[in-house]
């Protein structure tokens, strides 16, 4: 694949922007978590683009995919803890809407 790196970065930027949009737009806690996953994936794609940028024909730069692996690990942790919080919230309030979390506000 000899796609220019800029196109990878543009794709990553698009995915990140869509994730940010979903994060602020949606009130369903599960969809908000999925938007965060989308943003983490965009970050992974940026790491890949950076790795390609710093690769020489003889040697592939592997620090980018290594960081991407750690990001995947952190995403798994984030998703599991987030979903456990969703379950705890649902037990208490019978809803997963972010608008129901207003005890500290008023």
């Amino acid at each position: 694949m000899n796609v220019p790196n800029e196109h990878l970065l543009i794709l990553a930027g698009l995915l990140f922007s869509i994730g940010v949009g979903g994060f602020f737009l949606r009130r369903n806690l599960i969809v908000v978590l999925m938007s965060i996953e989308l943003m983490l994936n965009a970050a992974n794609l940026t790491f890949i683009a950076g790795s390609r940028m710093h690769s020489t024909p003889g040697e592939v730069n592997l620090h980018g995919p290594m960081f991407a692996l750690f990001v995947i690990m952190v995403a798994a942790v984030e998703a599991s803890v987030g979903l456990a919080l969703v379950i705890a919230l649902y037990r208490r309030k019978q809803t997963v809407s972010l608008d129901s979390l207003n005890e500290l506000g008023d």
């Binding site: 995915l15 794609l45 692996l69 995947i72 979903l83 379950i87």
Partner: protein
């Protein structure tokens, strides 16, 4: 050819991510996100990072999205069902779908076996370098400390999830418990 595949997958990823944030039904969101992850895995494969593509499929598509689906089904958050997701539609389409998928996999396997020379040639051109060896050396070399820290983080997360999601034995005062 590979470039065309990249742009196709990029388009698929963008469409899938738009589906994630625009779908009313969370299950449709999960399926869209799954499609996005598959497209990204193909892009990783095209860039020559085979192990990352495999980890993307295994961890993201295999584990995290199944977790999301479990929680949505556990909490019964499916909402009003999309017509193509209702059980009647699925039941009517089950047999043709099963036959189609079976035949597809059979053809795929036969093509792979009978034309394995071409498949090997295509694989050789796909990844510039076999990165798994280098990744393992890095992971157990200069990234050993973050690797160990990751295991501690995963353990802490597992304990936290059990504590958070456990049903409380006695209802608390003022709360529904």
């Amino acid at each position: 050819m590979e470039n065309a595949l990249f742009y196709l997958m990029a388009l698929g990823a963008v469409i899938g991510s738009l589906g994630v944030i625009s779908a009313k039904n969370p299950i449709v969101s999960v399926l869209s996100l799954l499609g996005t992850f598959f497209c990204l895995a193909v892009i990783y494969l095209l860039a020559g990072f085979q192990f990352l593509a495999a980890a993307q499929i295994l961890v993201y598509a295999g584990a995290i999205m199944v977790l999301f689906l479990f929680v949505i089904m556990l909490l019964n958050l499916g909402g009003e069902q999309a017509p193509w997701l209702s059980s009647e539609t699925l039941r009517a389409r089950r047999a043709p779908l099963a036959i189609l998928v079976s035949i597809g996999f059979t053809v795929l396997t036969f093509v792979g076996i009978l034309r394995h020379d071409e498949v090997q040639a295509a694989n050789a051109g796909l990844g510039e370098a076999d990165t798994i060896d280098g990744l393992a050396r890095l992971l157990f070399g200069s990234y050993l400390l973050p690797f160990e820290a990751a295991s501690v983080l995963l353990l802490a997360a597992a304990v936290a999830v059990i504590v958070l999601a456990k049903r409380e034995r006695e209802p608390r005062l003022g709360g529904k418990g």
